[in-house]
Subunit: 379 residues, 2 copies
C-alpha cells in the first residue's frame, strides 16, 4: 500500500502542554502543568490541537476519584519530574479541537476539521493530543463558534436528552428544575423556550437576585422562584396559578438535599423526576406517596452512559439538532455565562500555567459563585 | 320484555350487618357495626353474601382519610342511630362473596358463583351487599379455598405484578425485599420460588427470629437477613457471596425509612426499586449516585391504579395465573399466616360485633406484631 500521509514527511509533532495528575485527590494538590511530546503520527492516528476546553463540575469529581467515568492513565506522556508513578492522566472531558495531521488510513477526517470528544475520559485540558478517529466526532461546529462548540457535548446535550427522552413534551407543557442557573439549567431554559415549553426555575437566593432573574428571563425562562420562596406555604397556590392547573410533567434536579425533596411535590400525576447532579452533595428524600399514588418516577440521567450506549450516527444527529436549537436562539446571550481563560502559552512556565488553571478552578461554576471557566488555548 | 328473575318473586332481601363509618378518623373512634336492609333486586343488579374479608393496612389508611382510593359514602344504608350524617361507607376493600340472587338482565353470573371485587372502595366488611355485575369479577375461586380466594386480589396480585411488570426475571435472578414477612412479601417469596428466582428477604429482628426464618424458608425464601444485620459492614460481602456477583435486578419496599435507604445499596446496575408501602411511615433517602451512575429506577406500584387502567380480561388472566401459582405451591402453608375471625352472627348485637372487629384490628398485621385477620362471615 502506498503511503498517502496528507502532510509533509518532515511534519514534527508539537510539544504539548497539559493539566495532568498521577493520583486521585484534591485538584489543588494533585494537578500539575506538564510538557510532553506527541508520539509520531501513524497511518491510523491523527494529531489535533485543542481550541477551547471548559472546566465542568464532573471534571473535578473525576480528579477526586469519586466519578465513575475514569480518566485514562497512560505512560505515553512521560512521568512528572517529581512524580511517584510513570502513568499520568490529563484532566477535562469536554472540548473542541482542530485536526492538524491525519494518518493515510484515516477516513472522513481531514486537517482543519473541528472535532469534539466521542467519549468521557479522553483528557481535554491540553494544547495537543494524538488520537484515533474513534476518539472524536466531527460535526459542523464552526457554524456556532468556538465557545459554544467547546461546551456543546456535555451540558446542552444533557439538557436536550433530558427534555426529550423521559416524557413527551408538547407546546404549553411545564417543566420544573432546580439549579436552574447552572449551565445545564440554562440550556434547559433555552431548548424548552425554542419548543414553547414552560419552565419553572428554582435558583438559590442572592443579593442580586433580580439581575439573575432578568438574565434567565432573557434566555426564555417562564417563571423563576428562589429556594427560600419555594419553602413558603404559598408556593403551592402560586405554582397552581402559573400552571393553570396543568400537571408539571418533568422535574430536573442537579442539586439534591432539601430543595430537591421540596421540588418533587410540584410534579403532577405520573410525572418524571430526573436527577443528573448533586451540587449540594446531599441526598434527597422520597415520600412513598409520591411513588405509589402519584406514580412519580425517580430516574437518573448520565450523558456518559448515553454516549456509551448510542451510535456515532445518533450522536451526530443529536449534535446537529442541538446546534439548530442554538442557532434558533442566537439572539440570547448564548448557552451559558462563561469566562475565557487564555491558557497554554508556550512561553509560560509550567508553574505559571498551573497557577492560572487553579485560579480558574476557584472561579468556576455558573451564577452566584462563579462563571463557567473555559480554557482558550494559546500557541 | 318478560321477567326472568332467577328466583322466587317471594325473595326477601336479607338484613345485612356491616362495619361502617360516616366520617374519616381513627378507626377505633369512627367505626360502628350497623344493621341495614338490602335494596330490592332490580333486573340489572345482583345480591351477594360475603364469605370472607381480610383487614388490610390500606383499609385502615382509607378510614383515616389518608388513602387516595376513597370509600363510597352512600345514603342507601340508612344513617347511624346516633349519626351526624345520612351517608355511610362500609370499610374493607377485599373479600370473596357468593351470589345469592341475580336480576334477569344480568349475564354470565348466576346464583352460587363466587366473586371478588373488581375495584377498590366497594366495602367488604359486611355480610350482604347489592351490586352491579361491574362491581365484581367471577373466577374459579372455589378451587383454591375460601381464605385464599378472600385474600387473592390485593396481596398476591400485587406481588405478582411487581415481579412481572418492572424487570424480566429469569431463573436464578435475584430480588431483594424488605417487610419480607408481610402478606405481600410472603406472596413474593412463593411466586419467586415457583419461578426459580432467588429472594433476599429483610425482616425486622425479634426474639423468635429463628422461627420466622424457618417459616419463610418453608415458603421458599432463598436468604433471610434482619434489618440489624443489614446495617452491619459485612453485609456487602455477604450479599455478594449469596449472589455470586450477579446483580440484584429488583427491590421491593413496603417499609420506608432507614431499611429502605439501606436496601437500595444492594440493587445492581440498572436495577428497579419499587415502593408499594410505607409501614414505618418514614420516607427514605435517595443518593444521586444511585440514580445517575447506577441507573437505578425508583418507581411505585399501586394495585388500585393497575385495576383502574386494565381490562376485566387482563384481571381475569392475572387471577388465573396467580391461582395456578398458588396451586403449584400447595404444599406450603398458604399465601400468608392468618387468623379467622367469625363475624356477623345475626344473634349478636352491633356493640358486640364492633368489639369483635376492633379486637381483630388490634391483632392485624403479618408476622411479629400480629397475623392477617380475616373476617369469616356467619349467617
Ligand atoms: N448527569 C450528567 O450527564 C451531567 C451532565 C452535565 C452536568 N451534570 C451535573 O450537573 C450539575 C451542573 O453542572 P453544570 O456544568 O451545569 O454546572 P455549573 O454551570 O458549574 O453550575 C453549577 C450550579 O450548581 C449550583 N450550586 C453550586 N453549589 C451548590 C450548592 N451547594 N447548593 C445548591 N446549588 C449549588 C450553582 O448555583 P449558585 O449560582 O446558586 O451557586 C449553579 O447553578 C453538576 O452536578 C454536574 O456534574 C451532569
Ligand atoms: N401498593 C399496593 O398496591 C399495595 C398492595 C398491597 C399492600 N400494600 C401495602 O403493603 C404493605 C404491606 O401490606 P400487607 O397486607 O402485606 O401487610 P401485613 O400482612 O399486615 O404485614 C405488615 C408488615 O409490615 C411490617 N411492619 C409493620 N410496622 C412496621 C414498622 N414500623 N417498621 C417496619 N416494618 C413494619 C410487619 O413486620 P413485623 O413483623 O416486623 O411487624 C409486616 O411485615 C402495607 O403498607 C400495604 O398498604 C400496597
Amino acid at each position: 500500500m502506498l503511503s498517502r500521509y496528507r502532510f509533509l514527511s518532515s511534519y514534527v509533532p508539537a510539544k504539548a502542554r497539559a493539566m495532568v495528575f498521577e493520583k486521585y485527590g484534591n485538584p489543588k494538590d494533585v494537578l500539575r502543568a506538564h510538557t510532553y511530546e506527541l508520539p509520531p503520527l501513524t497511518p491510523t492516528t491523527l494529531h489535533m490541537r485543542f481550541l477551547a476546553s471548559p472546566i465542568n463540575p464532573a471534571d473535578i469529581n473525576q480528579i477526586e476519584g469519586v466519578y465513575p467515568a475514569r480518566p485514562t492513565f497512560t505512560k505515553e506522556l512521560g512521568g512528572l519530574p517529581d512524580g511517584e508513578h510513570k502513568e499520568l492522566a490529563v484532566g477535562g472531558n469536554e472540548g473542541v479541537a482542530e485536526i492538524i495531521a491525519v494518518g493515510d488510513q484515516v477516513k472522513d477526517l481531514k486537517v482543519g476539521d473541528w472535532v469534539i470528544m466521542g467519549r468521557a475520559g479522553f483528557g481535554t485540558w491540553r494544547t495537543h493530543a494524538a488520537a484515533t478517529p474513534n476518539d472524536v466526532i466531527h460535526f459542523n461546529s464552526k457554524e456556532i463558534g468556538l465557545i459554544q462548540a467547546a461546551t456543546l457535548s456535555v451540558n446542552p446535550c444533557t439538557a436536550y436528552r433530558m427534555l426529550k427522552d423521559f416524557v413527551t413534551l408538547k407546546k404549553g407543557d411545564f417543566v420544573i428544575q432546580c439549579g436552574a442557573n447552572s449551565s445545564v439549567g440554562q440550556s434547559v431554559i433555552q431548548i424548552a423556550k425554542a419548543w414553547d415549553v414552560n419552565t419553572i426555575n428554582i435558583v438559590r437566593n442572592r443579593p442580586d437576585i433580580e439581575n439573575l432573574k432578568t438574565y434567565l428571563k432573557s434566555l426564555g425562562a417562564t417563571h423563576i422562584i428562589t429556594d427560600q420562596e419555594l419553602r413558603s406555604y404559598k408556593t403551592k397556590e402560586l405554582i397552581k396559578e402559573w400552571t393553570g392547573g396543568n400537571v408539571v410533567k418533568l422535574g430536573l434536579n442537579c442539586v439534591g438535599g432539601e430543595v430537591a425533596t421540596e421540588m418533587a411535590k410540584y410534579l403532577g400525576q405520573s410525572g418524571v423526576y430526573v436527577t443528573y447532579g448533586a451540587m449540594s452533595r446531599q441526598p434527597f428524600v422520597v415520600p412513598a406517596s409520591h411513588l405509589i399514588f402519584k406514580d412519580i418516577k425517580f430516574l437518573g440521567f448520565w450523558m456518559s452512559r448515553w454516549n456509551k450506549t448510542h451510535s456515532r450516527e445518533e450522536k451526530e444527529e443529536m449534535l446537529n439538532e442541538v446546534i439548530t436549537l442554538m442557532k434558533f436562539k442566537k439572539e440570547t446571550p448564548g448557552y451559558a455565562a462563561f469566562e475565557e481563560v487564555l491558557w497554554g502559552n508556550p512561553s509560560e512556565s509550567n508553574e505559571s500555567l498551573r497557577d492560572k488553571f487553579l485560579d480558574a478552578l476557584d472561579k468556576s461554576g455558573a451564577g452566584f459563585h462563579g462563571k463557567k471557566q473555559i480554557l482558550k488555548m494559546q500557541y
